[in-house]
């Protein structure tokens, strides 16, 4: 398979993640859509690493996985904190920081 196929698939997955972030209002689903976007980036990194014939892109993908795990841990901690304070789990209602 040509590398172009992988890149096009990766951009499709990224766009799906963007669409989810724009459409959904539950913070949990928004975190899941962030995962989709990070994974699309990972796929592009690994595909380009195969194209060049060098493993360094795969190391980048592993580091991106670590960043994604950190983001998930902090995001889920925030969701649990919001839930404990009996605030609504809806990003449209949580807009006190809006300027």
């Amino acid at each position: 398979m040509n590398i172009t196929w992988y890149i096009v698939l990766s951009s499709l997955l990224f766009v799906t993640g963007v669409l989810g972030i724009l459409l959904r209002r539950s913070p949990m689903v928004i975190l899941l859509c962030l995962e989709l976007m990070l994974n699309a980036g990972n796929l592009a990194l690994v595909a380009f690493s195969r194209m060049v014939g060098n493993e360094q892109g795969q190391v980048f993908a592993v580091i991106v996985m670590v960043i994604a795990a950190c983001e998930v841990v902090v995001g889920l901690g925030l969701i649990v904190a919001i839930f404990r304070r009996r605030l609504p789990l809806n990003v449209d209602d949580l807009r006190e920081l809006r300027g």
Partner: protein, 171 residues
């Protein structure tokens, strides 16, 4: 054979991604994300990235998704109102997404990278195996490796600070 595996995995990945954003219940969204992650692991194997595929299954589909399932079970699904505060958002969002995809496609099709149309150079079986990745991580990319380990520690401490129950909240 390779094309068949690619298209099956691509349909799985895309279907999983669409399932994540289409399901009302967050629990089903998490299950669809697991389908998506397994399909991506198959794609990584096709790209001869064995270690990344294994890490994807073990770390992502294993550990991170268990965390998600726990939080969804704790917080409970639903709670998302069907009512849109901005009615135009439902139409604008797909439009923006399509525009982004067209832009990315133009960037890929107009790219000067000649190697995009190829399969990539021929590599032996040792390409992307744990030994090669480990050597790169511990020799060339030692600093990013250590920085990411500190970042993980900080994230763990931060999550405990955020989610821990405080004394005045109980009373």
């Amino acid at each position: 054979m390779e094309a068949v595996v690619f298209f099956v995995a691509a349909i799985g990945a895309l279907g999983g991604a669409i399932g994540v954003i289409a399901m009302r219940n967050p629990f089903y969204s998490v299950l669809f994300l697991i389908v998506h992650l397994f399909s991506l692991a198959a794609l990584f194997l096709l790209l001869t990235a064995a270690f990344v595929a294994a890490a994807q299954v073990v770390v992502y589909a294993g550990a991170v998704m268990v965390l998600y399932v726990f939080v969804v079970a704790y917080v409970g699904g639903g709670g998302e109102s069907a009512w849109e505060p901005i009615p135009a958002q439902r139409f604008l969002a797909p439009l923006l997404a399509i525009a982004l995809f067209v832009e990315l496609s133009i960037a890929v099709l107009g790219s000067a990278l000649k190697a995009l149309e190829t399969h990539g150079p021929d590599v032996n079986n040792a390409f992307g195996d744990p030994a090669a990745i480990g050597r790169l991580l511990l020799e060339k990319f030692l600093l990013p490796f250590e920085a990411s380990s500190i970042l993980l520690l900080l994230a763990a401490v931060g999550a405990i600070v955020l989610a821990a129950r405080r004394r005045q909240e109980i009373s």
